[in-house]
């Protein structure tokens, strides 16, 4: 079975998501792209029209008007707008996949916890781009060796950081750190982001440091990371582990490690280049994760239907 979906917010993220759904959405049918400006003033809506997708230009009113056409809404607006829209989606019986930092619903990383949250809520949040890239790595370590502390460092090209990220940089680090703990499983989490203006623009790069007991089996950790990386690649084709978990011990750092070691993993995310350039892996991983989550929603509803349950709408 497939789910019918609408995208609210035809900006860069919404437009990239549209192309991804059209390119490789297996169980997701895009029914409508909704914005707040006339088509001639919106590149995203124009792109939808060009692809033969119906559009709406009255924001949440368009959602209400066409709510019978779709079951899933991708929110690609802003945190403030999603906070206003979320109760309306709920009232209309729509399942919301929130790509903004609003986090009305639980943090969701498809490869880690989507099954856990799907039964509980009709609104899931995609954390942050850096969170989608690094939380699975923390989870991969944590499931074989308890992670006392996890730290992620994300480097993104200046050109791929829009005004939303720039004006709310604290929101990025705070939300990502919370995701490292709540979804990744670290006892404590910290997130760092840097913007690099180099030309040509750098690919999105991430480093994940985890602090674990010095008695861990590093081969077991590497196998766990390999497994999860392969799963992520099924929905983020440009995801690549560039440095497999490598041990740093007391001799390699300038501070006291006690009876722990540090495992450092690095990864790069190259975008698919549908709408955004390949270096903007940070944006790409958000739209890929959102589509991945929608596919899981479709699978789950199908499974529920198969056992005689009825989709509630």
């Amino acid at each position: 079975m497939t789910v019918d979906a609408a995208i609210v917010g035809p900006g860069n993220i919404g437009t990239d998501l549209m192309y991804k759904i059209l390119d490789r959405g297996e169980r997701v049918d895009l029914q409508r792209m909704i914005g707040i400006f006339p088509v001639e003033e919106s590149d995203g809506l124009q792109a939808a029209v060009d692809e033969g997708i119906d559009v709406g230009t009255d924001g949440i009113d368009s959602v209400r008007e066409h709510a019978d056409e779709f079951d899933v809404v991708f929110e690609a607006t802003s945190a403030g707008v999603h906070e206003q829209n979320a109760p309306v989606y709920e009232e209309l019986g729509l399942f919301a996949i929130d790509l903004t930092p609003a986090a009305v619903g639980p943090y969701t990383v498809p490869v880690v916890n989507v099954e856990d949250v799907l039964g509980e809520t009709n609104n899931i949040n995609m954390v942050t781009c850096g969170g989608q890239a690094t939380i699975p790595m923390v989870h991969a370590v944590d499931r074989v060796a308890d992670v006392e502390y996890a730290e992620m460092v994300s480097h993104i090209a200046s050109k791929s950081a829009g005004p939303g990220t720039r004006q709310n940089i604290d929101k990025f680090t705070q939300t990502t750190a919370a995701g490292l703990e709540e979804v990744g499983g670290a006892d404590d989490g910290k997130a760092i982001i840097t913007l690099n203006p180099a030309e040509p623009p750098i690919m999105m790069r991430n480093t994940v440091h985890t602090q674990v007991s010095d008695s861990i089996d590093v081969d077991e950790v590497r196998a766990s990371v390999d497994d999860i990386a392969a799963e992520i690649q099924s929905y983020v084709p440009g995801y690549e582990v560039t440095l497999e978990p490598t041990v740093k011990d007391q001799d390699d750092v300038g501070f006291d490690l006690g009876d722990t070691v540090i495992l450092t993993t690095q990864l790069e995310v190259e975008g698919e280049g549908q709408h955004l350039p390949p270096y903007a892996g940070n944006l790409d991983i958000m739209t890929s994760a959102a589509l991945g989550a929608a596919e899981r929603v479709a699978e789950q509803w199908e499974a529920e239907a198969a056992v005689g349950g009825e989709q509630d709408d």
Partner: protein, 344 residues
């Protein structure tokens, strides 16, 4: 041109890089006390990478910012207390904590071209009624006109001062003059300058900046600081006096703080030195705090730290990207077939 520049001592902040962020609160209190006795204008305290910088990536500090501020603040009478924050590493929460612990000045630093990530932070500092300084890092990487645009953003957000940071110690005196000169001419707020000594130019560049109209300048006792170190404070005070400036800090007091208080806390490994690796930072234009990380990774992977630094310079890495050092060291080792002992 100012007659009485403000002098900011960062031994307890940029100096933290040189000791892997391991000063204890007690050591900080002792140094701060000596600087207060010497009538230093401002003392800056925090992890080398600012509040929130304590991390695996940059090095865990020996204590929390809160503990450092709690021991240092009571040592200061007329000397003002400054803290540093890099948005993306620390957040408004740290500014809030520092304001509660007696900070007078909050310095907000971004890469030379990324000032627009700092608006919230400036607004918060002004809301708390503190002095806000904007710091544009790695200013050798941007043209004077670009730096001016970025400085104007910080001015608009509420900065009382904008500093140009020569974070790589890569600027030559002419480069300092054209950058500082343009900002002094075009901004309505004060301009500051921060040097590193990787090309041996820290004191000279600082004098050039003052000559162009900068009014506040940075240094560290004994020239501690990232890379080869910052402008050597006691030398700067002496040179400023000789140049005819009227400076607040006492020359002997500053010299004594350096030699009698700081020096016994240092050893062969932490003593500031303009050696081959730190010279390379200035030559290649690389963020000074990368030095000790590049040495460690060079050792792990059997690669000359100078080669790592040159490669990082070519990649145009910016402050905060310390983790890429591992990546570069690994790649160079692989290309050259150096024995890798990094695994396990």
């Amino acid at each position: 041109m100012t007659e009485s520049p403000r002098v900011v001592d960062m031994t307890l902040r940029d100096g933290m890089h040189a000791v892997d962020h391991q000063f204890t609160p007690e050591q900080m209190a002792e140094i701060a006390g000596a600087l207060d006795d010497a009538d230093m204008d401002v003392v800056e305290v925090s992890h080398g990478d600012g509040m929130g910088g304590s991390s695996i990536n940059y090095g865990m500090a020996a204590a929390s910012t809160e503990e450092y501020l709690e021991t240092v603040a009571p040592q200061l009478t007329d000397t003002e207390l400054s803290v540093l924050l890099l948005p993306g590493i620390g957040t408004v929460e740290e500014l809030d904590m520092a304001a509660d612990h007696g900070a007078d000045i909050c310095r907000i630093a971004t890469h030379a071209t990324e000032a627009d990530i700092s608006q919230d932070h400036f607004e918060y500092v002004k809301e708390r009624g503190l002095e806000a300084n904007g710091l544009l890092m790695l200013s050798h990487m941007a043209a004077p006109e670009t730096l001016l645009e970025q400085a104007q953003l910080m001015e608009e957000y509420g900065a009382d001062v904008v500093y140009l940071m020569d974070s790589a110690g890569a600027l030559l005196p002419d480069g300092v003059r054209e950058r500082v000169g343009l900002l002094v001419e075009e901004l309505d707020i004060d301009v500051g300058f921060h040097a590193h000594n990787n090309l041996g130019l820290a004191v000279g560049n600082t004098l050039a900046a003052l000559d162009e109209g900068a009014v506040t300048v940075d240094g560290c006792l004994r020239g501690l600081g990232a890379g080869s170190g910052n402008t050597q404070m006691e030398v700067l005070v002496g040179a400023l006096e000789r140049a005819g400036y009227d400076v607040t800090p006492d020359l002997y007091g500053t010299m004594d703080a350096a030699e009698e208080v700081l020096l016994p806390m240092l050893d062969e490994d932490t003593m500031p030195e303009l050696d081959n690796d730190s010279l390379m930072l200035g030559y290649a234009g690389v963020y000074s705090s990368f030095l000790r990380h590049a040495r460690r990774e060079g050792k792990r992977y059997g690669v000359d730290p100078r080669d790592i630094l040159v490669e990082l310079g070519e990649m145009e890495v910016v402050g905060g990207q310390e983790d890429l050092i591992t990546d570069v060291a690994e790649r160079l080792a692989e290309e050259r077939g150096t024995a890798v002992e990094a695994d396990d």
